[in-house]
Structures are given as structure tokens and as C-alpha cells.
Symmetry: C2
Subunit: 480 residues, 2 copies
């Protein structure tokens, strides 16, 4: 078989460069068998002349095909098409119709957890969003630009897997002053947010089949992480008088939000805190404290973290900058017992769950320069005002249909329904009016759910609150 | 018992604000039993007068202690210390000496994987580092600043878990042009780098006890991720004539670096690629293609990815910007089969392994404006020159002790040793002279290791290369 030159005809009108056309035509012809193994291909000089292209183009294309093993060169006798396995070629072409292997059982479990974080678009009243219009982006931008400029090997290498030392130091100081938590930088593990911390904690502390205790109603992200790790849930009902810790089965870990219960916003009282520490000691288990909204408390001072009361080292503290800075920063952290710090760091090294050092260093600067504390002060006072406005308007406009219990903390409020209604259907109707909330019933998994709306008020200004509430009123009028 | 006022004496010389002193003294006295349950505390007016502090300070402190349940107020008769469980208090104080619960078996396995990424300080010849002095930080900084300014809800919310649509689109276009991979944005999953992609892949595709095939010598990060997920390794020896695929046991997934084998830098020839696709079809398993260094090829054009040859959908492609941009960017991505995209996205939602949207959007701009392609062109030419210089100097200066096989790709070269020597001891000696490399033997796990040095040349300029090689020469002289 001689070389069929028309196989590699170059289209001069095409945008695709000549080397690319030549490469792809030769490759396709070899792969589909039009050029069989053993066929001698023309010398670069000859082919370049025949095709009227530069000889360098041909040489470079032959080089690539030689590197890939489509061609082989025999010393002294030229370049030939390589012998490729034909049956393998059929396997290659097995098209999209063929069945793919399944996920692992573990993967199936992980992928089957409900997706809760992917809300695009309209977020009026969706809880968990701070108001970004008040974030000091010029300050942030200036600090980041300075860090980008000073970028050095340390900042942009692979080191500092457990977090940048300057950020860890800044967090230690912040925790001591604001959260009553005493720890050393070595105990801080910086990760890409609360969810990464929960996932890591679940994997490191739970084996498939182990029980975990979790608040009911409780945080869907924690539930997903522990369930996805193969854990078996035991509910801790949240009652008006506190956390109703179950009598069994014995857990490997207990997940709580003591400073501002999610979603009900209550504070775990000291007697419950002490009781929980005692139970953890009896069961020899861990306590995971998610301290997500503790900075937003509107009466008295912030409630210190449970981690600060614990003397046993069983409390693993999870903090986030999603609410105090902005969610897409994707930086959170854990405070782990000294004895576990090395294990957690090696695990993070393996999971790659660490945020960009550039952002870490900028955040450290933001904290150290006082910009963080100043921002928090401003937001606390803004949100306090906004919360009063939201609560007043909500009670005024929606009184026939809802109750809005008082609460002293958190960026969300709970509206319970005065009439029989499926809160998920209510959400569907609200979404059609561009209002979003979390249906309270979806955070109950073991006990009869209460129907209601978890309403975030923080991201909306007064005009947006009024507009959103008018939409909700229209929805409720239709339903009741 | 009347209230012992000296318990809360305020130290006016202290830096600690009065409310904080009062809060902490009251709290400590209640916790340690000096103030027993039922003791009536003075009214805020009285205490403020006695302590000579503002009444608001006392009110706010009482409020916080009431919220926490340290105090309770009885209507009409005042405020009292709450009754806290005493046995619990003992559990709380169980000090650091007490034993903590163990990690889960899975956690133990994860934490026991060797830590490979935490190198601080000196990195001369440590492979895997680009030269950051040539990165266009002013351009990057300008793009990022523009994005910080345009920050909006979408950019800083919780959405876009699988990646920012603009970055996904930019990656699709880059892959089509540069890597011969055709895919849709929905198939791209953006994660925090290669290690996060490997960890996620391991969890989603491997169950404990499943076999995985992995190159020998091969990438330590992939090995750790699959082993940490409970997989059982089967080596694919890399020989001078290619990948020696094993005959069994059947794997759930196969990990390969076909465009530039890590660490040996060879290219998987087309016959091996087709054979691997056929084997994957026979075993009904996945192929994980880590395309880490494919952009740095110094002869012919870049070798297209294996993913581009596969028609079956079994190849999961992993790409990274660590080498083409900078490692601490911490952005990588996967191309997954269409059928798996939703599962992978839900899993990422649960694991929180996603990078900051601000960085994603800036990277998208960097690619779209052409800055990425221009930077790559400059670096390819710089590294080609640097590699020649390194190879020439290395052969000239270290000839008595090492062989330096030719290679056409990658940011590292392998020096094998001409004399009997433990390459890990060699590294220890090199580190004392501030030179670092990866000992080749550490990447063999199943077959007799070759001793040698994996030397990264890319991050050092010519003067640094000369200096580093002089240090290495001194080390080798001592050893041989």
C-alpha cells in the first residue's frame, strides 16, 4: 500500500492551522484503519512539497505522532505507520450508548444526599445570606492587591496545608477575644468552609454504622455529611425548654449548634451544656460544635462557645467566615484537640480541602488591621435594626396566617403557620413570586415536623423586605 | 447565703473591659460552686453602685448570663443563680490528661497516608514548582480587582457548587483547542485542585476492598487518595517500552498520567492507550487520567489527552492550573461523563471541595482575555531553554555519579545513580545544603525500587541551577 495523499489534503480556507489539520487527518486515518500498520509515510520534504506547506510543520507533526506511537521510525529506512491493536480500536469506539460502571456504594450514598446549596438567582428571605452591599470591598481589594504583589514562593507553593500561619494566629486571637476559646495556632485547621469541616470530621471520626446524635430540627449540611459517611442518625429533639438528649444508642459524635440553634435560633443553656459534656464523657464520644451565627446576637453580649467551657478536649469547634465576611470566600476552620492536629493535617493533605493561600493571607490582614471587627460592629447594628423592622412588618402584614416567635440571635427568623398547610407547597408558590425560604418541615427527619418558614432577613433592605412580605402575603392569601 | 460582693471586684487597672471582668467572674463563681444555685444576685442598680460601674454594663452582663442559663429570673422576686448539675461540672473539668476517643478506622487510614505536600522553605530542585517570578501578577491583580468591585450576590453566594459557568465555559474552550477534548460545560466539575479531584473520585468510585491499578513508580497523591479510601493497589510497572498492564486482579479504576508520566515523563503510546481502553471495557472499570504537566512538552506539539480518544465515556479527566498558573491558586477540574455530572455535583455539595468563586471568575477572565495562552507560550519557551541548560550543566557537573536520561516533557528530570546509594539518605544530606528533590525510590511500592533523584528545574533561574548543582556535587562527592 502506498501513501494515499488525498487523506491529508489541507483546506486552505479553514481557520484551523495547517499543522493541526495534518495531525488530525493522519491520526484519524491511522485510528480508523485507512492507514494500516506498516505503511511507509512520505519524508517530510516530499510531503511538504506535495501539500505546499512548510517543512517544519510536517516535521513537528511527525514528531508528535512519533511521540504518541502512531508512527514509528526505522533507522535508515524511513517512517512507518505503527501497528495498533484492532480489537482495542473497537473498544475505543464503543459509543455513548454502552453502559458505564456504577458508582461505589459509598459514592451512591454520598450522591444521594439532598442538594441544599445550589440556589441560583432570587434569594429574598433565603436564610444564611449576609448583605454584601455593606461589605467593605475597597478595603478587601486593597489588602488583596498588596498580597498579590508581594506574592512569593511561600504564598504560592504547596505548603501550609493546615492553613497560613498568619491566618491561624489571627483566628486564635479572634477566638480568645470574641468566642471565649483558648487555643494554639497548631490546633487550628483552615478548610474551605463549614461543609468541608463537616465532611472531614465525619470521615475522620465516624465509621459506617456508627451512631451520631443530631439536633431535630437540625442543620441539613451536617446531616448530609454524617449520613454520607455511613453514620446512623439519632435525633436530639429541640424543645421549648432545651435540648432533649436521647438515652441511647451511644453515639460516636454529637452535632450541636449551641450558640444559635439552627434553625430555631435558641441558645443552649448552661445546664444542657454541662449535661452534654457529661453524656459525652459517659459515651466516650466527640462533640462537634458548629458556631455558625454566634456573632449575630442582639441582646446582651455574644454567648461564649461551648469549646470554651470544655476541659476534656472532646469538643471540636467549627467556625466560618461565610456570614461575617461573605459565603463565596469559602474559608472556614476547625479547632481540634492538640493530640489530633497532626492527624487532621495529614488528612487535609490527602483530601485537598484547603483554600487559596492568597485569600487566607488577605483574610489574616483583614482581621489584624481591625477591618473585620469594625465590619462586624457595623453589621451587628445594621442587622439588629433590620431584624426589628422585619419582625414588626412581618407580624403586621402576615398576622392572620403566621406566628413569629421572638428570638435574640441569628440572621433568620421562624414563622410557624396558623393553618393546615404543606410548607413545601408554600415554597413552590413563593418561588413563583421570586421569594425563597427554607420550609421548616424539611429539617425534621425523625419526629412529626412542624410546618413553617425559615426566613432570612439579613440580605434585604427595608424596601426589599416590604416587597418580599407583600409577595408572601399574596401567597398566604391564596393558600389559607 | 447572701451575695459575696468581693467575688466580682473589678480591677480598674486591667485592660479587660468591666463588662467582661464582671461576666467572667460571675460565670467562674457559678461554675466552680462558689455561687450556689438559688442565691439571689443584687439588682443591676445596686451592683452598679457597689462596683462603681455603669448600670448598662451590669444589665447587659446579666442578660448574657440569663441567655446562657447561668442565672434565672423569677417574676416579681428578682434574679437568682441557676441550679446546675454538679456531677456534670466534674465531667467538664476532667482535664487534658483524660483519654480522648479514637479516630474512626477510616480516619486512621486517611491520617496514616504519608504527608507529601507540606514542604516549607527551600525548594531548589523540588519538582512541581513553576517559576512564579514570571507570572503576570499585575494582569492577574487587575482582573481580580475588577471582579472584587463587581462583586454581586451571584458571585458571593452559595450557588455554583460545580463551578462558575464562565470558568466552565472557558475550560471547555481551552480543552478543545489545547487538549483535544470535546465536552460540555455540564461535564466540568471545578474543585480545589488535583488532590481534591482524586479524593472525590476515590470516594465516589471505590469501595473499601476494591482494587485499583496505579503506575509504578507513580503519583504519591493519587496513591494516598485511593489507599485512604480503602482501595487495594495493583501496580502497573512502567518499563522502557511502555505501561506493563497487569493481568489481574480486576480493578474498579485505573490511574494513569498518559501525557507525561509522573515521575518518568514518558508519553503513553497509542497502542498502550488502545490496550488500556480495551482492558477497561473488559473489566468494566473507570480510567482516571491525570493530565498534570501536558502543557510542558518541548518537542512537537502537545500530546492530546486520552479522554479525547475514548468513545466509551470511561475516562475521567483531571486537569489542574497549579503548574500553568501557580499552585496556591488551588483550582483544578474534572471532566466527567454526562451521566455522572449530577452525582458528582451533589457529592461536591456535600464535601465542600469547591474553590472561591472570586478566584474562579478571575481565572475565567485570565483565560478569556488570552493572558493564559500568552503566559503559557512564554513559559514553554522559557522552560525549554532552562531545561536544556539544566540538562547540560547537570551532565557536565555530575557525570561521574549520575545518568540523566533524555525526556521531552515535564517540569522535572530523573537522575539515576551510578553507584550504590540510598536516595533518601542522599536527600537528607542535600537538605542540609538547602537543596531538595524527591527520592525516586519513594515512588515504588511493590517492585524493587530504582534509586535516583526527581529534580525539578523549572523554578530556578540559571544562577540558581548552577548553585544548586554545585551543592548536589558536594553531596555526591561525600557519598560516592
Amino acid at each position: 500500500m502506498t501513501f494515499p495523499i488525498d487523506i491529508v489534503a489541507i483546506d486552505r480556507a479553514s481557520d484551523v492551522p495547517a499543522y493541526r489539520q495534518l495531525y488530525e487527518k493522519l491520526r484519524a486515518a491511522i485510528l480508523d484503519g485507512r492507514l494500516r500498520g506498516g505503511v511507509r509515510i512520505p519524508s517530510s520534504r516530499v510531503l511538504a512539497m506535495d501539500l505546499q506547506i512548510s517543512r517544519n510543520t510536517v516535521i513537528s507533526t511527525y514528531d508528535t505522532l512519533l511521540s504518541e506511537g502512531f508512527l514509528e521510525s526505522r533507522r535508515g529506512s524511513g517512517t512507518f505507520v505503527a501497528d495498533l491493536p484492532r480489537s482495542a480500536e473497537r473498544a475505543r469506539r464503543q459509543a455513548g450508548g454502552s453502559k458505564l460502571p456504577s458508582l461505589s456504594a459509598r459514592g451512591r450514598l454520598m450522591a444521594d444526599q439532598p442538594q441544599f446549596g445550589a440556589n441560583h438567582g432570587q434569594i429574598t428571605f433565603h436564610p444564611g445570606y449576609p448583605d454584601l452591599r455593606h461589605f467593605p470591598f475597597p478595603v478587601w481589594s486593597r489588602l488583596m492587591t498588596a498580597n498579590v504583589r508581594r506574592a512569593n514562593q511561600e504564598l504560592i507553593g504547596y505548603s501550609m496545608i493546615d492553613g497560613h500561619p498568619e491566618l491561624k494566629q489571627a483566628i486564635v486571637e479572634y477566638l480568645a477575644v470574641s468566642r471565649g476559646v483558648q487555643c494554639e495556632p497548631a490546633q487550628i485547621i483552615v478548610v474551605s468552609g463549614t461543609q468541608a469541616a463537616l465532611d472531614l470530621t465525619a470521615r475522620l471520626l465516624l465509621d459506617p454504622g456508627d451512631h451520631f446524635w443530631i439536633e431535630e430540627p437540625g442543620y441539613q449540611g451536617a446531616y448530609g455529611a454524617f449520613l454520607g459517611a455511613g453514620g446512623r442518625p439519632v435525633p436530639i429533639p429541640i424543645r421549648s425548654d432545651g435540648w432533649a438528649f436521647p438515652s441511647g444508642p451511644a453515639p460516636r459524635l454529637v452535632f450541636v449548634t449551641p450558640s444559635c440553634q439552627w434553625p430555631l435560633t435558641g441558645v443552649m443553656q448552661m445546664d444542657d451544656r454541662l449535661r452534654l459534656l457529661q453524656l459525652a464523657s459517659e459515651h466516650d464520644c466527640w462533640i462537634i460544635e458548629d458556631d455558625y451565627d454566634s456573632e449575630y446576637r442582639f441582646r446582651g453580649h455574644a454567648i461564649p462557645a461551648m469549646r470554651g467551657v470544655d476541659g476534656s478536649g472532646r469538643v471540636i469547634y467549627i467556625g466560618t467566615f461565610a456570614k461575617t465576611m461573605f459565603p463565596a470566600l469559602r474559608i472556614g476552620f476547625m479547632v481540634v484537640p492538640r493530640a489530633l492536629a497532626a492527624d487532621f493535617t495529614r488528612a487535609v493533605n490527602m483530601t485537598g480541602q484547603y483554600p487559596s493561600l492568597l485569600l487566607q493571607l488577605t483574610l489574616a490582614d483583614f482581621i489584624r488591621t481591625g477591618a473585620f471587627a469594625a465590619h462586624l460592629r457595623r453589621m451587628r447594628s445594621l442587622y439588629a435594626k433590620r431584624k426589628r423592622y422585619f419582625a414588626d412588618e412581618c407580624r403586621r402584614m402576615l398576622a392572620p396566617w403566621i406566628d413569629l416567635p421572638r428570638s435574640e440571635a441569628g440572621l433568620q427568623m421562624i414563622a410557624t403557620l396558623k393553618f393546615e398547610c404543606d410548607d413545601q407547597q408554600l415554597l413552590d408558590a413563593a418561588l413563583r413570586r421570586s421569594v425563597r425560604f427554607i420550609p421548616l418541615s424539611t429539617l425534621y427527619r425523625h419526629t412529626p415536623p412542624r410546618q413553617g418558614m425559615i426566613l432570612g432577613y439579613a440580605a434585604s433592605d427595608e424596601a426589599q423586605i416590604r416587597h418580599g412580605l407583600r409577595q408572601l402575603r399574596a401567597v398566604l392569601q391564596d393558600f389559607a
